[in-house]
Amino acid sequence: MYRYDEFDTTFVRQRVDQFRDQVNRRVSGELTEEQFRPLRLMNGLYLQLHAYMLRVAVPYGTLNAAQMRKLAFIADKYDKGYGHFTTRQNIQYNWPKLPDVPDILDHLADVEMHAIQTSGNCIRNVTADQWSGAAADEVEDPRPYAELMRQWSSLHPEFSFLPRKFKIAVTGAQADRAAIAYHDIGLRLKKNGSDEIGFEVLVGGGMGRTPMIAARIRDWLPKQELLAYLEAIMRVYNLHGRRDNKYKARIKILVHELGAEEFTSQVEEEYTRIDAPRVMPPAQELERIAAYFAPPAFDDLQDDSPKFMQHEEEDAAFAQWVERNVAAHKQRGYAIVNVSLKPVGGVPGDASSDQMRAVADLAEQLSLDEIRVTHEQNLVLPHVRKQDLYRLWQELKKHELADANIGLATDIIACPGLDYCALATARSIPISQDISNRLGDIARQREIGDLKIKISGCINACGHHHAGHIGILGLEKRGQEYYQITLGGSGDERASVGEIIGPGFSSETVTDAVETIVDTYVGLRQNGETFIEAYRRVGPDPFKEAVYAAH
């Protein structure tokens, strides 16, 4: 894992001190709310529906045990004993008090964490494939580049006041687990024809009220040119991105209005004007960062563990958990474990402080001190010996963290919605709970198979509903919540935007509609098709007919 150098430490501590002073001045009245608002937002502090909300960055979703324990400590001491892991791999606390926030930031700084770049019109916390450095299918760990981008963007004067927020995601694998096509910039490490590793560069993806899939503007970029090329993209955006209308200010609108070809041409032209060697850090700095992400000290193991295979054979519940929650690791004898934060009927992404501490302990004992947060609001223990899987599963069960539902119907993404969020127009969480309870029987979930249900409580789409196989958008009309359903969205390497199927549903009937859609799929699928495969074959009509005939 990356460790702060002297510059990082000083920078983060200074920001804590500055914010402490800003809070003091706000409380004393020296700063007005209007003056204070941009300052608190630059430190991840929002004023929500019922309280402040502090969004803490988890850079590229990577944590160690000490950091997770600190998050648990903060949840207990300054909040209500839990935290909410988000679709940007961050954690949010829903109940901090303003005078406590500087102390919270101080505690975070103790473990090299902060809340910088989690709000405002800046380059936000860079997200990454949660299996980075572990996945069997990746060409290279993308996290050193994510860290490089963090350092490059944190204090860059050109990027502190962009037209709008700006989100970058990076992956090192062909299978897209980071939804890169839905980001302002999506980066994928890949090999060219000469077996050299570089970046495929996508620009202009996004959710919100105008969902768009990013355009590929470079099929392959030499790795060492990354920052210079990104700077060219940001300059074109800064120059032409609209600042007169916040709804048209994201780079996706610029790419759309200029056209991908013209946008690409302007970026390439700008790139020729950039003094690339000045932008790129020296090779030794890249090596210094990369060294922190060197593979941990893996044991030299046989790939097959007889102990593991025996448990898999003898314990059906364990075998089911392995099938859904365990993934192939690049290191022989190891596995990636996905820890579900989606108990049936639970709140997606929420974890109690006890659960955080349990995950921290297990990471330390069984996963080489590493934890990841996923954009699908789950956790990952990335480096587990196969021979330890059974023990790990038993421990996870004790803490209600062993649901074998990764990628199934109850592995729902839901934003905080109108239970917490000041921008929301409807609730998301109770809808996700209702659907989860309805479809929660594990045999039924397994019968349905891979299915991504994603729920947003407003058009800003923090719940990624556009990318849901079944997407649900909560809106409000005449004082009542109602829910629009989209079908056919996907956030993976075949990214697509879901299509609205028709008039919305009340909070009482939306779960019935979802169940009808699921049952319709089960009835029409062929040869083991997944939901999204079946949808792509038959289109929306059978689902519309079933849903609107039934309602």
Partner: protein, 109 residues
């Protein structure tokens, strides 16, 4: 200039210290309950009611005051907008840990 209103209004804001929703009462005190909130029934009264926020803004007790429309019911004033009803009720979520079933989050013990 007087505000256009379509029904009775109450004045709400958030407490600076913890962000909690508060309502200006008949006694010109900011309370977390809407029950005894002061009403504005005309556009002139709405303008006057908004002005009542100034002392609490100046004393750094509240932020972001605004008027909300309510319906008068036997149980007391109820906001017309769903958002405001939720803001008063608190999260409906039954958080598995540290919560009570009535939707009011309990402090972690």
């Amino acid at each position: 200039m007087a505000k256009k209103i379509t029904g009775p209004q109450v004045l709400t804001a958030n407490q600076l210290s913890d962000g909690m929703a508060v309502f200006l009462s008949n006694d010109n005190v900011w309370l977390t309950s809407i029950e005894n909130a002061q009403f504005a029934r005309s556009e002139e009264e709405a303008t006057d009611l908004e002005a009542c926020a100034l002392p609490a803004i100046r004393s750094n007790d509240i932020v972001d005051p605004y008027l909300i429309e309510i319906e008068e019911t036997e149980a007391g004033p109820v906001p017309v907008e769903f958002r405001e009803r939720r803001r008063i009720a608190g999260p409906s979520v039954q958080v598995t840990f540290n919560t009570r079933p009535n939707g009011q989050l309990a402090l972690a013990s």
